[in-house]
Symmetry: C2
Subunit: 173 residues, 2 copies
Amino acid sequence: MEVFDCVRRRRTVREYKPDQIPEELVLKLLQAGRWSPSSSNSQPWHFIAIQDPETIKRLGEIATQGTFMANAPLIMAIVIAADSVRPQLDAGRALQQMELVGWSEGLGTCFVGVRQAEQQKAVKELLGIPEEMELITLMPYGYRVPGARGRGIPRKPMAEIAHRDRFGQPFQE
Amino acid sequence: MEVFDCVRRRRTVREYKPDQIPEELVLKLLQAGRWSPSSSNSQPWHFIAIQDPETIKRLGEIATQGTFMANAPLIMAIVIAADSVRPQLDAGRALQQMELVGWSEGLGTCFVGVRQAEQQKAVKELLGIPEEMELITLMPYGYRVPGARGRGIPRKPMAEIAHRDRFGQPFQE
């Protein structure tokens, strides 16, 4: 799949086929994160590829804002080292590469934040994540259900968010 | 270009051909940012596509850590609204989509942070960015110079950053 097509067609997906994701593709997702650029090439990330059914079920119970993840065959936990300079930004770059590679291979995913302190604690305990590290997200992955293409949430008009040379000069298409 | 190939081949680029980037491709970069997912679909971003030579020269002078950007035909400033829930993460997702689309079209870029308060102020003044907004980065874009492929900075071994089911259980390839 062409890169721009992938960016343009991608949708957030909360419904997954139960089919297992082949090892080779799990590895490709991990490589997509691993090859992301990062601040001063610090590579501050850890990725936990979770396929154990019991752990997946438990994560769906803990993360009440993302209960649908209990039905995914794979959850990618993204964790950032404590001494990272730009934890959120570097995580965002890596997880977006993963999402796009996943989409190009027939998978869908959805960012699930784990913001509440109680949930963070429970997930970290379950997954053995060192306390000082930052759990950024749990991203369930699965093959997309045919037909369930996603709504394609509208975007703001280009002229509202894109400027030419100077803020406030709309970039007219 | 296939998505995974793009992710795998992409390098950070600090040297650009002087050739102007066609309007259509500038628009594609903006679309790549615009179609990025964001927290609660908040779309908190603004993109300033800077092609005015005087402004580009001035940005290269202000951002002393990225003087090479003075030689780029385009600089994309990425700005995030003040009330954003996850400014850095959402910016990271959008700029990574832009970088990958750019790479697939023959362009290269490099993240330049503008961290010092003095520099932030000077750039915001020059570009007319509202004070309360967050300037995330200035990303110079240009066509890649043939042969200057980039070093391909080594990555940490997979087993060091990828875990299976639980932190500390290495994901063996």
